[in-house]
Structure formats: C-alpha cells, structure tokens
C-alpha cells in the first residue's frame, strides 16, 4: 500500500512546477510550458499570471516553486526572503508611445526631454515650439495634449517611469519609479486595452503600451531618439540590441535596468523580465526539473520569442544566465551536471 502511494505521489510532485507572477510574459511562458511538457512527459508547469507584486510575495513566502517579475526586486524586498533568491532574465520586452492626431500624417518624433516634458505636464500643446520644431513637416495642431497612462500597477509602467527617471532629473525628483506612481497629469486606463481605448478615442492623446500590444493592434507608434541620437523603430531586434549593448554593465546578480542604453541600434525603452528562484532548492527533484526547464527556456526556448513579439536574449546575456543556473544547488550540491 505504501509503495503504491509512493508511486502515485512522487512523479507528480517532482514533475509539477508551480509559478506565479508577471502578466507581461504570460503568453510566452504558457507557450514554453506547452512545448516543454510535450518534450518531457510527466512534467507539468503551472504558471499563474497574478502580477509581479503577487509573484514576489508568493516566492518570498515559498508558496510557489518560482516567481516572476518585470522589475527586478529591490534590496529591501530581497532582505525579507529566507534564503538567497536568484534573478534569471528570460526574455525582453519594450514599451512604445502611441498617439492620436487626426489629420496629421507622418511619424511623430520625440526626444527624451520632450517625453518627460509631456508626461510632467510642462508641454501642454501639440504645437509647442519644441515639439513642432522637431516635427517640421507634420503641421502639428493647436490642441491640448491629453496624457494617458496605466491606472493599474504594472511592469509596463515601471519600465516607462524608470526611463523617465533616467532621462529627466525633474521626473526622478518629483515622481520617481515604481509599478504605480503619482502621475503629475493625465487620465488612467486599466491595462493596455484601457490606455489604447483612451488614446484611440481622444483626439490629441498620447500614451504608452507594450510593444507586443501595439504591434498586434497596428497602433501608430512615435519614434524615440536613443542615447546615440538615432531614431530606431521599436522591434524585437532593436530591443535585443539594447540588451546586448548593456551586457557589459550587468552586475553579478543580473538585476539591471537597460532603459536608455548605449548603442546606435538600441531601442531606449526596453527591459528584461525575470524568473525568481531560490539558489538553495529544498526539493532536489523539483529543483532539477526547474533548472532544466529554465536552461531549455533560455536556449531552445528563445526561438519562440520573436513570433510572439518578445525579443530574445542576446548571446552574452545567455552566458551570464548559464553561470547563474549552475549556482543553483540542493543539499549543498550543484544541481546541474557540467555541460
């Protein structure tokens, strides 16, 4: 009888991983678990997209096998965990600015200063000399700029305000960066669809949404000047380029912001999204399944990024992830055999 129970319970327990966290990578993670379960019979990967905040809370309390977050955890948050948490970047996302200017043709160009000025409420009209000067051929109208932002806490907001804090000292001092902030101006829409709804329906509106969402819905996207002075369109390629350009300054724990990165091909509003796991896995069998899955996801799995609108990790970052995954151990012994 005992043996029978053992047989019944163990494969399920070792082969089933539960994770929770960020909503942004959810389509990719569910594709990965679907494909991985096909390759490895008996493995089940259960991912609940409850938001980064919930993911961090659950992994801190160890109620899940892995967490997921868009913004890296802060030192304060890491201080509350029992055991050392590792950040594994899995893919890259980007945020774009979409706008609604009826009767105006051409692509709107924006500089970091202008974006900060608009979202700070300092630039109020579309025909503001600075805006009009940069977009000479566009005949921008004499209408009010209506700012639209996310009302729900989100990783998308974090990437956007992290960028603004990076390029504008005024923003950093008065507003700062978090998954929700105290917006100086604007209307709040719930989710990407809420912001898109506001922008589409309000003449003169500008808002930010995820790159994938903008691509799928064919929204007009503003061109944003990067650090090197080039106007690079947002695409999985330019997002990966931003990560590659920042690879040199990534710290050992891989917690890094890659907004406004160097490189003439880099798109400036990009970010990693992370899976969180403990360095010391209490359950050796589960730990092995998890690490092998993450290895697969950051290697073979990267091919599935682009069709879904995510940017694959550049090679130098994959090397860093490999080092990180080799650190994971159980009972003092590393889980991965040398590859």
């Amino acid at each position: 009888m005992k043996a029978l129970l053992f047989l019944l319970l163990v494969p399920g327990a070792a082969g089933t991983l539960t994770g929770a966290g960020a909503t942004f990578p959810y389509p990719l993670y569910s594709k990965w678990s679907f494909e991985y379960e096909k390759l490895h019979a008996g493995t089940k990967i259960n991912y609940q997209s409850i938001g980064s905040g919930g993911g961090i809370r659950q992994i801190t309390e160890r109620t899940v096998d892995f967490g997921a977050t868009d913004a890296p955890m802060t030192d304060e948050q890491l201080g509350k965990t029992k055991g050392k948490l590792l950040h594994i970047p899995t893919t890259l996302g980007a945020v774009v600015l979409t706008y609604n200017l009826p009767g105006v043709s051409g692509e709107l160009k924006l500089t970091p200063d202008l974006v900060a000025g608009i979202f700070m409420g300092n630039i109020k009209k579309w025909n503001d000399p600075k805006l009009a000067g940069l977009n000479k051929g566009m005949h921008l109208p004499d209408s009010d700029i209506v700012v639209a932002h996310r009302s729900d806490g989100s990783g998308t907001t974090f990437v956007f305000v992290d960028y603004l804090s990076n390029v504008s000292p005024e923003w950093k001092q008065k507003v700062g960066a978090s998954t929700s902030v105290n917006w100086p101006v604007g209307l709040g829409g719930k989710g990407n669809e809420g912001v898109t709804g506001l922008v589409k329906q309000t003449p003169g509106a500008i808002g930010y949404v995820e790159l994938i969402y903008a691509l799928q819905n064919k929204l007009p996207v503003a061109l944003l000047k990067n650090r090197a002075g080039a106007y690079v369109p947002a695409s999985p390629k330019s997002v990966s380029a931003a990560a590659a350009a920042s690879a040199g300054k990534i710290p050992d724990d891989l917690r890094v912001s890659i907004v406004n990165s160097e490189g003439k091909d880099s798109y400036p509003l990009a970010s990693f999204t992370y899976i969180l796991l403990y360095e010391d896995q209490t359950d050796a069998a589960k730990g092995k399944t998890l690490v092998e899955f993450l290895w697969w996801a950051t290697h073979e799995g990267q091919k599935m990024c682009e069709p879904l609108g995510y940017a694959p990790l550049p090679q130098p970052v994959v090397k860093r992830v490999e080092t990180m995954l080799r650190m994971v151990k159980s009972g003092g012994k590393p889980i991965l055999a040398v590859r």
Binding site: G53, G54, S154, G155, S180, V181, G188, G189, G194, Q201
Partner: protein, 301 residues
C-alpha cells in the same frame, strides 16, 4: 404535554448556527482587514482619511480623493437611476398592459445579470465616446461657466462613472420597487378610484405613500451596489486621484484603486494602505446602509 421532536430541534439548531455564521463571517472579515491595515493606521493615523496625496514611490498615502469619488459617483448614480427606476416600476405595475408587462420586466431583470466587465467594455467603446461628444461636449461648451461643468470633456470622468453606475443599479431599484408596488393592497387603489381620483392621483396619493419605505429600501440596495461596484467604474472614470468640482473631470473610487493597484503592490506599507482603503470602504458601506435603515424605520413610524 409538549413533545419536541428531535428533527425539529436539529432543524432550529442548525438554522441558528447558519444565522450566527453570517454574523461571524462579517466580524471575521472586519477583524482580518483591521489587523492587516494596522501598519498603515499606525503610520498615517487620521492623515490617511484627509490626505490628498497617493504616492506609492514616496510611500505617502491619503485617500480623500477616493472617498470623494466613491460618494459623488454613487450619489450621481442615485440621482439619475432613482426617478427612472421608480418610473419604470410604476409604469409596469400601474399602466402597462399585461402583454407589455412580462417582456419589459424580463428585459429589466436581464440587465442585472450582465457581468460588470461587460458594462465596462460597453462603457469604453460606446458610452465614453458618446459622453465626450454629446452631453459632455454640450455641457462644456454652454455651461462651462458653472464649476460643475468646467474644463475639457474627455469622455472618461465622473459623469461617465455616474452614468454607468446608474445603468447598473437601475434594475435593482426598478425590480424591487415593482415588487413593493405589487404588494400594495388592491383596495387602496379601488378606494382612491372610487373617490374620483385619476390614475395619476391614485398612484400619487394611494400607492406611493403606502410603498414609501419599501421603495426607500430599493434605493438603498441600489446604493450598496453602486458603492462597491469596481470593474465597470474603473474602466470609465479616468482613474485620477483628484478632487475636482467638475463632473467632466476624471476621478477615482475606493474600489477602483484596490482593483488597480493591489496585484502589483509590493512594499508592506503599500499593501497595508490598500487594505485600509478596503476596510474603510467596508465601514462606509455599513454606515450608509445603517443610515438608510434608520430613515426607513423613521418613515414607518
């Protein structure tokens, strides 16, 4: 000799247990919320109630704009929905032909069954553009000098929030009012008509006074729904924590800020502040309901 059967005893005992369980559940929820809200209560004290800044970065939380948005949007909804709901109930009960009554009542009740996220989507795609272009645009243009209608009409804002709430509580108000009106004894009507009253006079002097407290109860139930409604309001109110006199300006409600920010709130104080908002929403709902019940009792007496 009185014999109490075992079955009767068991039955009455279990019903008492169920009744107590409801009370216990309410107390348990309140206690759990109060406990989790303690860090925020200790940090901010009364400032939490009167503060106007909600800044997750600086960890400064004041919920007055949310309280204001909740109360004003619900009041607006009541002002719009009460006369319409009551009118529908009176029409269905006193004036409509039998052939019309059934289908109309059915459609009205059906409105109550639509999930609120569907109302929200309809709000985004239909109500908001309509409000911006027509009533909102008109009010801003012609009555812009009144503080109530000052500023540009974005579509999203207090007016849209109030309108969508009004639509959502309309079935509650009308179907309960209708049942109350149906319970008015037929003799009341016959008496009034026999005295030579017109139909309108009959409704006004014989039916409505009789049903007054019940109608009040219907309105209170509608208010309860409006105070706690989350998803649909969040999608159309503009989500800006600001106290503006204009109905065209964006606003924010207590339920909305919970729905918006709870999933991504990471710091302990932030979560605790959100739970305190939830606790206060609970308290506001209880207070409003109690006040309404007191009024009903007074009217009855």
């Amino acid at each position: 000799m009185r014999r109490v059967r075992l079955g009767d005893r068991l039955f009455s005992g279990s019903t008492v247990l169920f009744a107590l369980a409801i009370v216990g559940l309410g107390i348990a929820i309140f206690a759990a919320l109060a406990h989790a809200a303690m860090p925020a209560v200790r940090t901010f004290g009364w400032r939490f109630l009167w503060g106007r800044t909600w800044d997750p970065v600086e960890q400064e939380f004041g919920m007055l704009p949310f309280l204001y948005g909740t109360l004003v949007s619900s009041a607006l909804a009541l002002v719009i929905a009460t006369p319409i709901g009551l009118g529908v109930a009176i029409f269905l009960n006193e004036f409509a032909s039998r052939a019309l009554r059934g289908p109309l009542a059915f459609v009205m009740d059906l409105l109550a069954a639509i999930p609120s996220v569907v109302y929200g989507l309809w709000g985004i795609f239909v109500l908001v553009p309509f409000v911006r272009a027509h009533p909102g645009g008109w009010l801003a243009q012609h009555l812009g000098f009144v503080p109530l209608f000052r500023g540009p009409s974005y579509g999203v804002g207090m007016l849209s929030g109030g309108l969508i709430l009004a639509i959502m509580i309309l079935p509650t108000i009308s179907s309960i009012s209708r049942e109350v009106l149906a319970a008015v004894p037929q003799t009341q009507r016959e008496g009034a008509l026999a005295l030579g009253a017109t139909r309108w006079e009959m409704v006004r002097h014989a039916v409505l006074p009789y049903a007054r407290s019940g109608i009040f109860g219907a309105v209170v139930l509608g208010l309860g729904r409006a105070l706690g409604e989350t998803m649909a309001v969040t999608m159309v109110i503009g989500n800006r924590p600001e106290i503006a006199s204009s109905l065209l300006a964006p606003s924010y409600t207590m339920a909305s800020v919970l729905a918006n920010e709870f999933t991504e709130a990471t710091s302990d104080l932030y979560v605790s502040a959100l739970i305190e908002v939830g606790l206060l929403l609970f308290v506001v709902t209880i207070l409003v309901n109690m006040a309404a019940r007191l009024l009903v009792w007074k009217v009855k007496a």
